[in-house]
């Protein structure tokens, strides 16, 4: 009630100031009149009475001012006055305003863009209802201390016994060639348990979820499709429910359409019942097979769920020791799994962009300081007229807020139309990058930053200005506080130099890392290799022998194409994310605990693979067309496996056995080949190093046609011709064998190698851009300060010249002044960089082949920065030499 009255009364005086003023005036005059007439009744003359009342109460105007300042609206009013006055002064110096707003726009824009990435990827909640209750349940190899995919039988047991979860579900990626309706297309699919969509709390706009009967071996072939696929293939018609699609040669009935934008980790277009999948994958209890998610019951904590799952798992280990010995279980928030390990990199970049903003602030603060020289008189006069110090500071801060809000508006535009699309494009490999955008949290962040920034760059100059010594300022026309101002300006330049050095060092270290990685020999020749996948028509590949023949024929025809030097297929492509790590042992005796056996990467390849990749054969032989499922098992190993596990012995003709239950082998080792970097060109020591090769034609029938069989292989072609020239010929060969056969994922090996460095490349590009921005701002900053000090020193220079100083001396003096600042900044920056660049290693694990304290980088960057500083001082130094001593001295 009284609050309301307070507000309306305040608003009244804001909106109808004249009327309120008139009323107050009348009331006060009535008061005075009454006081005067009282005094006259006591016998004073009117003149004396008026004077006495004046003395007691002050003038009506002063009283009015006092009463007016009592309400909150007076604060609003002064702010408004300050704003208008600030806008007027800024308009009067357009050069200053444009430079300051641009500088701030660059800083704030870069920060807004970076924050929109952080917000979208790290901060925004997952797009499911109550996402904090969603978890992933991994199995945990206690021997290697690694999380692994659970096996399907273990998952089924968890699902029936766990009480901590409202729902538990499983999924597995699948690959589908869609051949009808419409043109053939390769799609990413997923097998999901009938509880999957319910666990995520997804409601289908059309159709229904899988039933438990359908989520069984031999269940009806049904499919749920993504909203995108539904729009593209069925024109968004709800009648699509009930229609058929042909996937991998089988007709599936569409029973449901997913809501728009539904996504789980990757963009998947078709979902099929999990249990209808390949028995080879789902049946063995010892084989890692699926991803398991769950929704916690209300009130159940992560720790409780973990405790219950551990107990269940212990029980499963006792029941099935062969498959489960050495396996634990870990319950992890879904959010953590989906976001992965990018947070370190993103936070380092966010820190870097924050430094850019600091540099921008230092620049604007310097501009304000230089400008304030011209305004010393203005503030002295204000003070003389009775403006309090806080009032002056407030006026100045209002001006800086205006500047920074202008910068924010422009920066937001830059972030939205310029930087952000580039950023999202570059960060395509980031999880959840589809989330990135300018939304309310981003706008709030920008607003907050711009106000914080306004105080940051505005406060120091404002405090300095408001402290002007009145007398000297008015007397001398403003050279009173120059030394103090110099000190602040110099510190700001030193700060800028230090920050710029830090950013440059970070960018240079990443640049050197990428350079080192590109120089690394991956163990094969990345040049002149094209990779792609094909989908054979289902009629050719119904049986294992049909599948083998189809691939053999295709490869034979490819090898006869002009320009093709070698061609073969492989299950795994080095440097790509797919891997195939398996436990192995020498000989045929299975170790007691398979989970504790050493690991190797198994490359299933055709016989020509080694030539296609230019991997050196070190000893023995590689496979031939005669190594088939009917001949004795053979394998090749790499030199790492040979030297690590056959110390001093000859591995040739020994046998090796590998895989989950049931294992493959024993296979006779027929050759030793060079090691290939699979896990990336950088540091790979934390991954499995030993490698083996297994002939694809030797793979048993049931695996060839299985869901992870031949259709998932990649074809490798070595040719000196560019991809664009070869692909049409390859398509001709493929379409000659059947018209409904897509060719997809065409990539050159060099593209794959370059993509494998994206974890380093995108931070390098961003950090490089930030460092470049910093360099630009800092050189403008040092230029500004030095040229300003030259104008201040005109008299001193004049005197020196009059006393016989040479032009070189003056030139040297100015340059030396700039260099002193730059060097001080370099020393401080180098010290800070030594500490901070360590973050690139510990926090984001980005460096390879260079130390965080790499002396070459530090020296090179410092030299560059010094050169830029000298260059920035050159123009003011030249100007200093042109000072005419006569003119300069007459000035005094």
């Amino acid at each position: 009630m009284s609050l309301l009255r307070n507000i309306t009364s305040g608003l009244r005086s804001l909106c109808r100031p004249d009327q309120v003023d008139r009323e107050l005036d009348e009331e006060l005059r009535a008061y005075q009149e009454m006081a005067i007439s009282d005094k006259m009744k006591q016998g004073m003359s009117r003149k004396d009475a008026v004077r006495a009342v004046r003395l007691e109460n002050g003038s009506v105007d002063v009283t009015k001012e006092i009463v007016r300042s009592g309400g909150w609206e007076s604060f609003v009013e002064t702010c408004w006055h300050d704003l208008r006055y600030g806008a007027r002064t800024l308009r009067k110096s357009p050069g200053f305003t444009v430079v300051a707003v641009l500088t701030l726009a660059l800083g704030i824009g870069a920060n807004t863009a970076m924050f929109s990435v952080i917000e979208g990827v790290l901060l925004a909640p997952l797009p499911y209802s109550e996402p904090d209750r969603l978890v992933v349940v991994w199995e945990n190899n206690l021997h290697f201390k690694q999380v692994v995919w659970p096996s399907y039988p273990n998952f089924k047991d968890w699902q029936s016994s766990a009480r901590s979860f409202r729902r538990m579900a499983a999924m597995k990626w699948r690959y589908y060639d869609l051949t009808s309706p419409g043109s053939p297309e390769h799609l990413l699919g997923a097998g999901i348990s009938s509880s999957f969509l319910d666990t995520l709390d997804v409601k289908l706009p059309f159709g229904r979820d899988f039933s438990t009967q359908e989520d069984q071996r031999g269940g009806a072939p049904v499919v749920i499709i993504s909203n995108d696929l539904w729009r593209n293939r069925f024109g968004g018609n709800p009648q699509a429910v009930g229609e058929a699609v042909t996937l991998n040669g089988v007709d599936y009935t569409i029973i449901g359409i997913l809501p728009p934008r539904f996504q789980f980790d990757e963009r998947v277009d078709v979902y099929t019942p999990l249990a209808q999948g390949d028995p080879l994958m789902l049946d063995p209890r010892g084989a890692p097979a699926i991803v398991s998610i769950a929704r916690l019951n209300l009130g159940v904590s992560m720790a409780q769920a973990q405790a219950e799952m551990s107990a269940i798992q212990d029980h499963l280990v006792q029941l099935y020791p062969d498959a489960n010995k050495g396996l634990g279980v870990s319950v992890v928030p879904l959010r953590q799994v989906l976001i992965g390990d990018v947070s370190g990199t993103l936070l380092v970049l966010f820190g870097a962009v924050g430094l850019v903003l600091l540099i921008a602030c230092a620049n604007v603060a310097n501009l304000l300081l230089a400008r304030s020289v011209g305004r010393t008189r203005e503030f002295a006069i204000r003070a003389a007229l009775g403006a309090s110090r806080s009032r002056t500071v407030r006026q100045l801060l209002t001006e800086s807020t205006l500047l920074s809000l202008g910068g924010a508006a422009l920066g937001l535009t830059i972030a939205n139309w310029g930087v952000r699309p580039v950023l999202t494009g570059m960060l395509g490999s980031l999880p959840r990058s589809e989330n990135i955008g300018v939304n309310t949290p981003v706008l709030l962040f920008t607003l907050f930053v711009s106000i914080a920034v306004a105080v940051l760059f505005g406060l120091a100059p404002a405090l300095k200005n408001s402290k002007t010594d009145l007398q000297s300022a008015l007397k001398e026309g403003g050279r009173g506080a120059t030394t103090a101002r110099h000190r602040v300006q110099n510190s700001l330049v030193i700060l800028q130099m230090a920050l710029t050095l830090m950013l440059l060092v970070g960018a240079a270290l990443l640049f050197r890392t990428i350079h080192r990685m590109s120089d690394t020999n991956p163990g094969f020749d990345t040049q002149h290799v094209i990779t792609f996948k094909v989908g054979f028509s289902p009629s050719l590949t119904k049986t294992a022998s049909g599948m083998r023949t189809a691939y053999r024929q295709l490869l034979e025809r490819l090898r006869t194409l002009p320009g093709v030097q070698a061609a073969d297929f492989t299950y795994i492509v080095p440097l790509k994310s797919r891997d195939n790590v398996a436990p192995f042992w020498i000989g045929s005796q299975m170790p007691a605990v398979v989970r504790a056996a050493p690991r190797m990467m198994v490359f299933d390849t055709g016989p020509d693979y080694l030539r296609a990749m230019s991997i050196p054969l070190l000893r023995g032989r590689f496979f031939t067309e005669d190594d088939t499922s009917k001949s004795p098992c053979v394998a090749a190993i790499d030199d790492v496996l040979a030297s690590t596990y056959f110390r001093g012995q000859d591995p040739l003709d020994q046998t090796i056995t590998f895989g989950w239950t049931p294992p493959w082998g024993p296979c006779r080792i027929v050759g030793v080949v060079g090691h290939v970097r699979h896990w990336g060109l950088g540091n790979e020591s934390s991954h499995t190093q030993a490698q083996a090769y297994y002939p694809l034609y030797q793979i048993p029938d049931q695996w060839v046609t299985g869901s992870e069989g031949f259709p998932t292989t990649t074809i490798i072609v070595r040719t000196p011709l560019p991809a664009a020239a070869v692909i049409p010929a390859i398509k001709n060969v493929l379409y000659g064998m059947g018209k409904d056969q897509p060719i997809y994922n065409v990539e050159s090996m060099q593209e794959i190698a370059s993509e494998s460095m994206s974890a380093q490349r995108f931070p390098m590009i961003l950090l490089g851009a930030f460092a470049g921005l910093a360099l630009l701002l800092a050189s403008v900053g040092i230029y500004g300060v030095i040229s300003y000090s030259v104008t201040q020193l005109v008299q001193e220079i004049g005197i020196r010249m009059a006393l016989g100083a040479e032009k070189q001396n003056i030139f040297g003096m100015v340059i030396a002044q700039g260099l002193r600042l730059a060097l001080a900044g370099l020393v401080i920056g180098a010290g800070a960089a030594l500490v901070l660049t360590r973050l690139l290693v510990t926090f984001a694990n980005l460096l390879y082949g260079v130390k965080a304290s790499d002396p070459l980088t530090f020296i090179a960057v410092s030299t560059l920065l010094t050169a830029i500083a000298v260059l920035a001082c050159y123009i003011p130094a030249r100007r200093a030499t042109r000072v005419d001593p006569l003119v300069a001295l007459r000035y005094e």
């Binding site: 009255r5 307070n6 009323e23 002050g58 009463v67 009592g70």
Partner: protein, 110 residues
């Protein structure tokens, strides 16, 4: 020579104005005269602080103001106590009494 007028104890001006208005409806000048008379000239109000307090009280809905003609045919704003203001006056008076008594006890003890 008579004593110089004293400064009011901080925060008591509002209470005094409320007390003055509890007796009858009054305009600003009336309030200041009444306070000066009742305090026997110890408290003299300056117009600025008086009207600042009146504005505050009115905004807090403790008093209501109304334009009315005066005895000598001018217009002045007359203030009355609201129900809320009466309640506030009661509680402040009680509180004041407690404090004065307490201070008195402390001063006597020493």
């Amino acid at each position: 020579m008579r004593d110089q007028p004293s400064d009011l104890v901080q925060g008591t001006l509002d209470m005094l104005i409320l007390k003055t208005l509890a007796l009858e409806r009054m305009h600003g000048y009336g309030i200041s005269v009444r306070i000066e008379q009742m305090s026997k000239g110890v408290f003299r109000l300056n117009a600025g602080s008086l009207f600042l307090a009146i504005q505050r009280l009115e905004r807090d809905a403790l008093i209501d103001g109304e334009w009315k003609p005066t005895e000598n045919n001018r217009r002045a704003r007359y203030y009355t106590l609201t129900a809320k203001g009466r309640k506030r006056l009661d509680s402040e008076t009680r509180e004041w009494g407690r404090q004065v008594a307490a201070i008195g006890r402390i001063l006597e003890a020493s």
